[in-house]
């Protein structure tokens, strides 16, 4: 299949999943993260549903001999080191997520919502990407 068509289908399906699950609503996400308040744990099931589905399909993909190599390649391409960058970066991400209720997927799906908050967050998100490239990537 054309790589662009499959990528488009994946993005579209991903977006629909974020909409159906209400992950794209920051107020809902914040009430999921507010464990000691009026906690709404339902969003934990988003991860459960996604992990079960991907886990099962991934297992089926690995079983088909045709794709064993590519499945292994992905695994090997992934760095295994648990370092300060991983912990510090994930902490910063978590703080930003906790302040806003937005992570990158919902931020992009929300771009057509017409809310000024969506635009501000998405612009800052890309400035954050650029900042990382400036500071950590040699040209």
């Amino acid at each position: 299949m054309n790589l662009n068509i499959s990528a488009f289908a994946s993005g579209l399906t991903f977006g629909l999943g974020l909409i159906i699950s209400q992950m794209i609503n920051p107020v809902k996400v914040l009430s999921f993260l507010d464990v000691t308040g009026n906690w709404d744990p339902s969003l934990a099931l988003v991860m459960a549903g996604a992990l079960l589905t991907l886990g099962l399909l991934q297992w089926l993909i690995r079983k088909s001999t045709k794709h064993i190599q590519s499945a292994n390649a992905i695994k090997q391409a992934t760095p295994k080191k648990i370092d300060v960058k991983l912990i510090f970066g994930s902490s910063l991400f978590g703080i930003g997520w906790g302040l806003s209720g937005l992570c990158p997927g919902p931020a992009l799906v929300g771009l057509t919502s017409g809310l000024s908050g969506s635009y501000v967050f998405a612009a800052a998100l890309f400035i954050g990407f650029l900042l990382f490239n400036k500071l950590h990537r040699k040209p």
């Binding site: 974020l18 992905i74 295994k80 302040l99």
Partner: protein, 138 residues
């Protein structure tokens, strides 16, 4: 939490898992949204086409839903200045940590990557503590 939100959360998760499997199977890529999006701000290359296709699919899911199904509830109560800071933290943090809720939280955890498990526990804890401080302390 109601039976309905349990059902919508779980079925939305199934869509997300399916989306990640499509990208893994056909493109041999992890559906990590922060990584896919950040790859687009580098100089244009062959690799940029599928990234852009993915992001276009992601973004048009919302207007398509509004057209075919109905309203989407998105409420943002956070002040704009806080959103700006949060966006910077999410953008920079996901690049430094090598993934976000999708890349680490879904794709990495599904292949039981120790890095992703540690990252997920870290950003979940950081987010939980942040919400606790904002809502119950300050």
């Amino acid at each position: 939490m109601t039976l309905l939100t349990v059902a919508t959360a779980f079925s939305g998760g199934i869509f997300i898992g399916l989306a990640s499997a499509i990208l893994l199977f056909f493109n041999n890529r992890n559906a990590g949204i922060s990584g896919i999006a950040a790859g687009l701000i580098k100089p244009w290359q062959q690799d940029s086409y599928w990234r852009l296709s993915f992001i276009i699919g992601l973004v048009i899911s919302a207007p398509l839903w509004r057209l075919l199904v109905g309203d989407i509830s998105i409420q943002i109560n956070t002040p704009l200045i806080v959103l700006a800071v949060a966006g910077l933290l999410v953008g920079y943090g996901t690049q430094l940590g090598g993934g976000c809720t999708s890349g680490h939280g879904i794709c990495g955890n599904a292949r039981l990557s120790p890095r992703s498990i540690v990252a997920t526990l870290t950003f979940m804890a950081a987010a939980g503590i942040t919400v606790y401080l904002v809502r119950h302390i300050f």
